[in-house]
Symmetry: D2
Subunit: 111 residues, 4 copies
């Protein structure tokens, strides 16, 4: 039987994969970034065991990358994400940040 | 060469397919519906020639359908959408509404 | 009432937006490109009025762009798409190709 | 510092969330199910630490649910998924199956 710690880490991973692959490709501009940040967080917080999600879209990076039409498709290079998942007595904190040019989803701590 | 009317209708279709397939599957509850409605509209309005998008998620239908976890995955049966696309001098209005139990994307008028 | 030509162009646009936003973000490598090409075509051919879809993922471009993990997320810069939509007596052919560094969805002809 | 077991479970969750939210909503019919099964497995196997993925779309359930157009949008009720993730010396097996009418992603074992 998996332990509560293992289950908690599995659940935390599900939330990250869900957030990323649900919203990657969304047309986003500096003006529309705030509503997208909020909707992404609210949507994933619906999932079981997901206590909080924070999405920060980097509007300066967006502005630098937008094409002639004024927007780009969302990818990991434009956002930082933090999540807290609680499963039974275990709290897992995770984050997505850029490392060496790639967005990296990582476990921050498990308590 | 396609006419401006044909191009305008093609562009209107692109927006509808984009909106639907970008956001279908998003976890949504009565509480998170408003932020999702706004983000969907703002995202698609970024696309070329898309002048306005209105998304109305049916919170009563959501509440009736939510599972034990309190949310569902977004599908066409939970939303109505209206869009206006302008290409050169042509204005196209489109809508998605339920018809006989299926969500139907349709051209409302082309002027 | 919209004409059959207008409806046909609208339907053609829906298919393109659907294909793009359903599959953008999919992890893809030179080895997995053929199965993805086939699944994308088969999936969109299910939609009403969609007679044929061809997806050509550019494996050389993929190979040049893959990260340290050997894959990328699918975007328009890695694929060319052709579709034929038939609505009543109207046949619409569409294509997505790169133009000036951007993937462009366009009407090829309406007959 | 998270342990290898915790990391392995987190990675396993990421793959499941990715698979589900990348492909949910894809138009699928009994005829197109085999190419979609294969593309889903091949796509997710590209991700780091993902050793094998098996997707089994239930063609009988699809056939029973298809609408007048002969297809449905893919959701968890139409598929069973098994995955094996390996991180350092840890092997994680996961599965998605229907439980009480809901698709449930679960850890099968961690070794």
């Amino acid at each position: 039987m998996p332990t509560d710690e293992q289950q908690a880490c599995f659940e935390a991973g599900i939330k990250f994969g869900s957030l990323y692959h649900q919203f990657a490709g969304t047309p986003v501009s500096p003006d529309s970034a705030p509503s997208l940040e909020r909707a992404m967080a609210d949507a994933i917080e619906n999932q079981p065991f997901c206590e909080s999600v924070t999405v920060d879209i980097d509007e300066a990076a967006l502005a630098a990358a937008t094409d002639d039409h004024g927007y780009v498709e969302l990818t990991g290079r434009f956002m930082e994400v933090e999540m807290r998942v609680e499963y039974e007595d275990v709290v897992v904190r995770t984050a997505m940040t850029m490392e060496d040019g790639y967005p990296l989803m990582r476990l921050v701590d498990v308590e």
